[in-house]
Symmetry: C2
Subunit: 295 residues, 2 copies
């Protein structure tokens, strides 16, 4: 497969690298050109502009937020003008349901095809090609993207022919992760105040009812009260919960727990924690209980 | 081992039965005598009163709440007066941290030994001897109870020499289960409003980051929007979140998510749902979003 790739951040770079490893041609663009050049040793080609990357029959985008993607597709990036008729834009970023809906309409109007395929997994999972891909869009186009999904992920879930549904699912999944962090944060603060050793409590949880990857990954950070390395920063966590609340409001779904979590992220922002991992919301429960950092 | 057993409800009856199956002598008392008699075919002996059950060197109690246990130990049950010096009371009920603290002191004063050993698992797990036991108390006494724990559970976690810590851990675990129910309730309400098939969404969750028993057990109830059979009733869920909040307040730990869940249970009580399973709090998120029951 020949694929254009836009966005080589913490997630995009290892994903594009895995695409190359799987034997595909990759024409990569990144705002900071040196990150695209870093793929040349593995056979990647550098696209000077987003429009140049959009000359491929499949263009994948993996960028930070709505604003970045809007600029690339509708703004100075000129992808909408450049992408050939019949070519596929597969959007893998975590963006709003509203933007995904707008992209589906705009690409359709331009005779192009839009697939939404956000992923679950932190940068370590991206490096190991162990992401989970949620793919929605026209079935034929989703099938055409499958080699790309196979190169970056361990499993693809095809959930709907309506592309924006993938974004609803991705945002809902991130809400469930944040909920786990919040609940573990409160639970560990409580047992610590009663003298329980946090790692022993984590062993109890993960050996019994709470044995999922989400419990082990975030439980370890919380039990050690150590939120390094930073895999997913606070402002991205805030963005995602804001987007899930927007998607929920537009479908008339009250989400009291998501609102509580939104306030947690706002609290971190107010306290200068914007460079911390989003799991740091768990530290708020400990701090509110008068516990000093263990680190 | 010769054990007295008080309390033969949904949980206590299968636990006492498993104790008999493992070859122990069981002297069982229940307020409704017929439930104790139902153990006779398997070799169980009936104790007419709590005090009679307390003639054994180890007495296990598995009752509904603080009030029931107080009545048995301190009130008309007269166990505190009857239990021999050096004998062990192992309390397996989900009770308050405050009552557990009071029991530890009272038994010590009477020259008796108190072990706190609440369990995780629904009645199905009790029947299958697959409970998880959290045991705290004097180490020698905990060791003496181990054959009993082995007969009813799949694993015992010995967490502290301070007996009431076991109750903190049990209540915190139930809070984490209720948090999972609440977060899944909100998540499923949202994706349903976007046309996602709930079982397909559950498959995605349990095949990726959310693969723990707590996700599968409660996710299945929520995806099917069917809360039968009733394993754990709403008033018991309300009691446990009230007790976790009390334990948290007495140790100065704010728990915003536990407060949210407390309100969910209060809402169910206000709407005549006291005979429903506690997982029904998930239906509130769906109802608030205008979704009709699927069942």
């Amino acid at each position: 497969m020949k694929a254009g790739w836009i966005g080589l951040g913490n997630m995009g770079l290892p994903m594009a690298r895995n695409l190359l490893k799987a034997g595909h041609e990759v024409l990569a663009h990144n705002r900071t050109r040196s990150r695209a050049e870093s793929l040349q040793a593995e056979g990647g080609k550098v696209a000077a502009t987003p429009a140049e990357a959009a000359t491929a029959p499949i263009l994948a985008t993996m960028v930070a937020d709505d604003q970045a993607l809007e600029e690339i597709i509708f703004g100075s990036g000129k992808v909408l003008e450049t992408l050939p008729r019949g070519a596929i834009h597969v959007s893998m970023s975590t963006i709003s349901v509203a933007l995904s809906r707008r992209l589906a309409a705009a690409h359709a109007k331009a005779g192009q095809v839009y697939v939404s395929a956000p992923v679950f997994g932190r940068p370590e999972a991206a490096m190991a090609a162990k992401l989970f891909v949620v793919a929605c869009g026209p079935p034929e186009a989703v099938r055409a993207c499958q080699p790309l999904f196979d190169a970056v992920g361990q499993r693809t879930f095809v959930m709907s022919e309506d592309a924006p549904v993938a974004n609803v699912i991705k945002l809902t999944g991130n809400f469930l992760i944040a909920s786990t962090i919040e609940s573990f944060g409160e639970a560990f603060a409580l047992v610590r105040k009663y003298g329980v050793e946090p790692k022993q409590f984590l062993d109890l949880l993960t050996s019994s009812l709470f044995s999922a990857p989400v419990h082990k990954t975030y439980g370890t950070l919380i039990a050690e009260d150590k939120y390094q390395p930073v895999g997913f920063k606070v402002p991205l966590g805030l963005k995602d919960v804001r987007l899930v609340l927007a998607a929920a409001e537009s479908a008339s779904v009250p989400l009291p727990l998501a609102n509580l979590i939104h306030d947690r992220f706002v609290t971190l922002m107010a306290n200068g924690m914007q460079d911390s991992d989003w799991a740091t919301i768990a530290r708020l429960a400990a701090e509110n209980a008068g516990l000093k950092p263990m680190g």
